[in-house]
Symmetry: none
Subunit: 419 residues, 2 copies
Amino acid sequence: MSAEIICIGTELLLGDILNTNCHYLAQELASLGIPHYYQTVVGDNLKRIHQVIEVATQRSSILVFTGGLGPTPDDLTTEAIASFFTTPLEEKPEIIAAIKAKFASVGREMTANNRKQALIPVGAKILPNPTGTAPGMIWQISYSGKTLTIMTFPGVPSEMHRMWRETAVPFLKSQGWGQNIIYSQMLRFRGIGESALATKVEHLFALTNPTVAPYASKGEVRLRISAKAKSETEAMALIKPVAEEIQNITGLDYFGKDEDTLEAVVSKLLRDRQEAVAVAESCTGGGLGSILTAIPGSSEYFLGGIIAYSNQVKMALLAVSEETLDQWGAVSHPVAQQMAQGAKQKLNTDWGIGVTGIAGPDGGTETKPVGLVYIGLASPDGQVASFEYRFGKDRERSLIRYLSSYQALDLLRRKLLTL
Amino acid sequence: MSAEIICIGTELLLGDILNTNCHYLAQELASLGIPHYYQTVVGDNLKRIHQVIEVATQRSSILVFTGGLGPTPDDLTTEAIASFFTTPLEEKPEIIAAIKAKFASVGREMTANNRKQALIPVGAKILPNPTGTAPGMIWQISYSGKTLTIMTFPGVPSEMHRMWRETAVPFLKSQGWGQNIIYSQMLRFRGIGESALATKVEHLFALTNPTVAPYASKGEVRLRISAKAKSETEAMALIKPVAEEIQNITGLDYFGKDEDTLEAVVSKLLRDRQEAVAVAESCTGGGLGSILTAIPGSSEYFLGGIIAYSNQVKMALLAVSEETLDQWGAVSHPVAQQMAQGAKQKLNTDWGIGVTGIAGPDGGTETKPVGLVYIGLASPDGQVASFEYRFGKDRERSLIRYLSSYQALDLLRRKLLTL
């Protein structure tokens, strides 16, 4: 029993898009312990899709398809699967109703070509798509003396992920997969580099169960602790002492685990203290506010902010002084402090954050290069501090803005934990 | 004559890495005009690699392998190819010399296991690797009555790219490829669904040169026009009339082509008119400002904005009236209008945008469900309009916020084009 991933779409053959779906499904199959030996990509061509199914049926028993479920004539996946197995298609009224409801909810009419998305082979079950018009299917069928399981998903990653999580995983577990588990915990760090962190915990890399491995991502370093066990409880008993040891070694650089994003951690700290924050953003242009409000219920601790992109707005809405701007420039310690203070006062909050910097690619000078960012932090105790960062003049604008927003959040987190 | 990409590596099956090599090679094959119908991924397993080669020889004639050329026992690519074609391996002294020189340059000795990297099948030519220890090969061989071309590359992307550019491309051109190029233009649309757009331009899907194909992505639909020709000029001459016909049919729903993002298009329109915009954001929390300032030089047309997450801030900083909030609620036409107007007045700009909505997952009611968003637009002519959207109560918070920001930008674009 092993799985094969089959991605259908001429855009993959032309190199228009990167095949992230295959990567996602590979990780998911691995975490369920489903053996998976082949991946195939083929274009929107009936004969070639048939050829790929023919090969897959000989070597795999769980065929996971993505792509080709759309309403247009080049979307052939369902039709190709049905005709390969010489099974007629039937129109499912519940799919038609769901598509109509989706169109109605955005004030549009279903078009005639969506009707083909309601066709699935006789005997297959609908794999619901809660967010898009293209449902998939789960079909178990006897072929050449073995039982095949066929699953189809649309190519849109967000739709595919949700369908996988909500329907495919429970189905596969009901079939007995995912019993012997590998359970992992990801510890997350800010303000320390990958090699510095690795040096601190080097003695743990030799462990075999659990194992410890480092990963670096944008502005963040992670350590993954993985245990193999019969149950989550048993795995956690192996993981816990190692996680605790790492947290003791790393102190404030550790900020959370698994799904604990930095914004979620800061959000929890603010909620626990029943305190609110306001932002004053220049180079991030609203990005910090956007990250803070990504958390549902963020209105409990976030009232708003000022996007002060121009100096006029810094003066008019944040009471940054013209003198300070003239003397120090907009990208400076005192302006970051006044922005933080201005946000706190104007919105009458406990905390204020100000971010001002040079995101590039233009606007840098010898003394104030691209990547120079000042972050001001006004605290409930009345203190205002500011911090200088140099994110590197060769870094991209989007990365400098991203790092600035997360650095501001991390400053707030550290202060919340130590005040 | 067509190519197949075969990527070898268990790490791809485990989902440890994203298959960027396949993406790179797909783009390269397309730009050389080499037809390419299949991609296969298989693990480091001799029997399965043989099975994959067997299938590929039946359907493809240029087999491009990546991965599995390293010095360790799980690197099997060369050995598997040689044994499939029952051809002995021979050690190439020039490869041994090159590997030794590479080790010497970093002050090390070649290790014994590198010796296997000097083996290639009798009759194959070395495909030099200027940066790493693993060379590839180019091998033309008769098999089952046809001529196969086999090329192998290491899995390290930077090494593979350089080997492809410096040796593989000149070789393929010497074989007659790359004379005809495929040139594409991507037309981009907003405010129309994939199926509705497809219906409007259905007659063009039957074209053969150029071809027209639809793609859907988050909130955007695209049509790709691809022409095969001897030169870019000739290709463009084929593409241009089709692109113009599509633009005529689709009117304002067409917003740009290729790298024209919506924010870049809006930015250009504002710059051309020397007009500035300010934002007032509730549910997007700064996301719209962040998108507008993602463009370098955005300070020319973006001065700032107010993130008015709470009603207090809407009243205090945007002069939204308490009466209106009480009577209509924060998520309503009049509040969106007052926010747009407030941003425009407070920041003294030509345009003001206000966004207020329910991003979820909580906060929805029967009459005001999650996904309900109002966008207000204040224009230089003094008019203020507002628009209602229902992005769907089952959509995720992040998607509702994303669609809200881009919908606001699209409203601004349409008004800029028609005012």
